[in-house]
Structures are given as structure tokens and as C-alpha cells.
């Protein structure tokens, strides 16, 4: 079996955080792979929801968009998009929401809107989509992002979705009662907000990753937990299921299926 890529490690580490009882609001890309990997391995009972309205879906291949037909074909049922955002997301029925972004700060606030001035942008990013409300209505938030000093930044030019704001008490002051980001799963490590400061803290390093590598890919001085762990390497089963899933997906999206 080929060597594990950082991207695979990230997806597998994210999948492990999911429980069979979770109701998960799934985004496209790494979150979708992680959620379906969890479903196909240790969490067969997990309920996957995509914002297109598909509830309890079991796609055989990963969707390219959040509304591929595969999602509807294999869903328990499909509701309208207003209902999805009103009854299901705002309704407080989702235990875990997955987010990613172009940029993140030390309090796990995310930017997927713009780099530079909003009215005269240097880079116009896609925007928030479901993220602003996913960030506040899901029981907790998992974030998956590849590390890099342009992505993990000291100050965000624009806050697209709320993490822990400016630190302890930020969410509470806004009347938000959910936990917010409880873990950030990267290609190098897992970070969790410190219980007291809410600042992201490395709690687990992936096999082969070093503190120096993490610091080099992060725009702020990184904090490391006292009892830092090594992320267990992917098992053969995890890797096989993930690679099969990606292979099926590639074939399907290239039009071969």
C-alpha cells in the first residue's frame, strides 16, 4: 500500500472524531470524504445531511456538489432548502457541522469571503454559503483545513463564520449556546481550543509531523498542549475504504460511470 498522504491522514483523523449517533451537516471536499469514511467504517449509524435538503443520505460515491443526484437517490427523504435551514439547521437538530475555509485565526473564526478590501477585493472567495449559521446552530463544529501561513493567519480580513470570537465569553455574549469549533483537523495535526483561553492548541501530531513543521505552516505563535499525543496511523481498513471511495468517485465524476 502506498504511503499515507497528509490529505488522507487529515480525512481519516476527521472521520475518527465522528460517532455513530451523530447527525452531521456535511460540506463538500474533505468533510464529505470524512463523513462517508466514518459511515463506511466505525459509524454505520451516522446520519449525514447535506444542505441541498438530503437527509440521511448514503452515497456510494462522493458528490462533487452538495446536490448531486446520488445524494437524493440514497436519502431517507429530501426536503426543500428553506425547510433545511429552518427546521433542521436552525431547529438545533444537528450534532456536528463540518466547516473549512480559506483562512482561520487562532480562535477558529473562518474567512471564505474575501482577501483585501470587501469593496475592492484582492481575491474574491466564494462567500459564506451555509457557514454563518452552521457555525452557530450545530452542537459542535469540526474544521478541516490544510495548514499554511497564508491560511492560518494572525488576523482575518473578514469573519465569514464565528468560531470563538475574540476568546472566552464571545459566543455567550452573542446569545449563542452551542459549543462552536471543538477541533481543527489539519494535514499535520489536530488542534483544540484551550479550555480557558479558547485559543487553538495542538493536541495531537500526525505521524511524521513535527512541532517545527506545524509552526512553519501557521501565522501565529502556536501553542502545544502539555500532554501532546501522536495521532494513530491510519489502519489498513481506513486507508482501503477511503481509497476505494476516492477511486469510485474519480471514475464517476470523469463520466466513466
Amino acid at each position: 500500500m502506498n504511503a499515507v498522504t497528509p490529505s488522507e491522514m487529515m480525512t481519516i483523523a476527521a472521520a475518527r472524531a465522528l460517532r455513530s449517533t451523530d447527525v452531521c451537516f456535511v460540506g463538500i471536499g474533505a468533510p464529505s470524504a470524512a463523513c462517508n469514511l466514518a459511515r463506511l467504517t466505525h459509524a454505520p449509524g451516522i446520519t449525514l445531511i447535506y444542505e441541498s435538503g438530503t437527509i440521511d443520505t448514503r452515497p456510494d460515491v462522493l458528490p462533487l456538489s452538495i446536490g448531486d443526484g446520488e445524494l437524493c437517490d440514497t436519502a431517507l427523504t429530501t426536503v426543500s432548502v428553506p425547510e433545511m435551514f429552518r427546521y433542521w439547521l436552525q431547529g438545533g437538530r444537528i450534532t456536528v457541522g463540518f466547516l473549512g475555509g480559506a483562512q482561520i485565526d487562532r480562535f477558529a473564526n473562518l474567512n471564505t469571503t474575501v482577501v483585501g478590501d470587501y469593496d475592492k477585493p484582492k481575491v474574491r472567495l466564494p462567500g459564506g454559503g451555509g457557514a454563518p449559521e452552521i457555525a452557530i446552530h450545530c452542537g459542535e463544529i469540526f474544521i478541516t483545513m490544510q495548514m499554511g501561513s497564508r491560511a492560518f493567519v494572525e488576523t482575518l480580513p473578514f469573519i465569514t463564520s464565528l468560531g470563538h470570537g475574540t476568546g472566552p465569553g464571545s459566543r455567550e455574549r452573542l446569545g449563542v449556546t452551542t459549543k462552536g469549533p471543538t477541533r481543527v483537523i489539519t494535514d499535520l495535526c489536530v488542534m483544540e481550543p484551550d479550555a480557558h483561553t479558547c485559543e487553538l492548541t495542538v493536541t495531537s501530531l500526525h505521524p511524521g509531523a513535527t512541532r517545527e513543521a506545524v509552526q512553519g505552516a501557521c501565522g501565529w505563535p502556536v501553542r502545544f498542549a502539555a500532554d501532546i499525543a501522536e495521532t494513530p496511523a491510519p489502519t489498513a481498513e481506513e486507508l482501503t475504504v477511503l481509497r476505494d471511495l476516492h477511486a469510485r468517485t474519480r471514475r464517476a465524476h470523469s463520466g466513466e460511470v
Binding site: E51, F85, G128
Partner: protein, 278 residues
Amino acid sequence: MASFTTLRDAVAAHVRDGDVVAMEGFTHLIPFAAGHEIIRQGRRDLTLVRMTPDIIYDQMIGMGCARKLVFSWGGNPGVGSLHRMRDAVENQWPHRLDIEEHSHAAMANAYEAGAANLPFAVMRGYKGVTLPEVNPNIRSVTCPFTGEVLAAVPAVRPDVAVIHALRADRRGNVLIEGITGVQKEAVLAARRSIVTVEEIVEDFGPRSPNAVILPHWTVGAIAVVPRGAHPSYAHGYYKRDNAFYQAWDAIARERDAFLAWMEENVMKRADLALEPAR
């Protein structure tokens, strides 16, 4: 009241320069054929409303149809940027494009409020984020019972809604199944509407008693356009053309390649809008 016509006549009659146009379809059933006909007919100064601009608005923006874009997520799903939209926002090409940006939840609620004939929508949202600072159409209301402050956005009330549906019956009732998105809301919120369909059937036949149907007296022009959602898809008819969505990235990245593709695949294909109602 539904009338059967060609797509060309439907667009000519219902889409006017300067209109607020909502072309909906959440990944599924995106009305590409109708968008192409609007481009061919040279509409200008449109305010384009759509949760996910997708390739359809990338094309319309790049071809100069739009003055303003109202949206909530402007990427090519699973692929990357919408290069024509970015070029318009970042470089004003082919001309300046104003934007009004929301979250998905806000847009979905705004369509729902429009369908319900309410002036605004209420939601719990937009907490701790920057968007309300740059969008004056994000305001607040206070609950008269609890004192809680909630977010408010104006209802979407387009001049014309354009959707693609699976099929219509002979009376002009329109059936949608699968991922229904906000299409029903868009049509009910709009003053006028155009519905393209895969086919017209005598009768819908056996179906769920709760099937998603727009009665004939709620829709405007109906035009038969088989594969009218391609490269999006139609549940039970054809799949999403994910290969095309991936290919679009290269087509749209440079202005010349984009214009050449549009000339060949859209501008020269007026014949596609002439399918008679059958």
C-alpha cells in the same frame, strides 16, 4: 396562468432589461437553456438573484447581462472559483458588477418570505460575523415576547423567476421531484415566471399525494426543453455532468477562451430555444 410557448418567445415576453431575475435550482434543475436564451437575446442591466450563482450566472455575468448579483455562495462546487464572476468583481470585466451578499439561510428565508407575501424574513443568524457591516439589507427585529434580537432580511420578490422542472401536464401544472431547492418559492415570490420542462405529459399519473406541484394558475410561460438543465441534471432523466463542471474551470479562466466557447456553444445555438410545446 400557464401558457405553452417556445423558450424564445417565453424569454422575449417575460424577461426585460433591468429586471430582477431569479433563476433557481439548487445544484439540481438549474435552468441553463433559459439562461442561454437570455444571453442570446442580449438582455442587459439585470439584477441576478440566486443562492449559488454556479456556471449559469458565471456565463451571464461574463456575457454582460448583469448589473447586480444577489447571492450566498459563489463558487464552482467542488472545483474552485467562478472565474467570470471573480473577474467582474475584482476587475469590472466586462463592466462593473454590484453585489448583495447573504448567507444561504438568509437567502432561503428571503425566498420563503417572498412566497408567503411577507415583506421580510426573520431568522437566528449572522452572529459574530462581518457581513452585516457590508450589507445594509441585513437588519434586526426584536421578539415582542422574549426581547431576543433576531436577524431580518428583505423578502426576495423578483420580477421574473425562471426554473427548470421535470414535466408539465396538459393543463400546465408543473411537477418537481428530488432536490427541490427554492424553486417553488422563487416562482411563488415572483411577479412572472418561465418554466422549462423535460416533457409535457397527458397526466402525472400515480404519485405521492404530497408531490411538489406548482398548479397551472401559478406559473407563466412553459417551454419544453429536453436536457434544459444540462450540465446540471434532472432527477430521473439525466445525471449531473460533473466532468463538464470540472472542465469549465479551464474554459472560463481566460476571457478569450470563455468568449470563444460561448460563441460556439451558446450564441450559435438559437435553434435550441425553438422546441414547440408538444
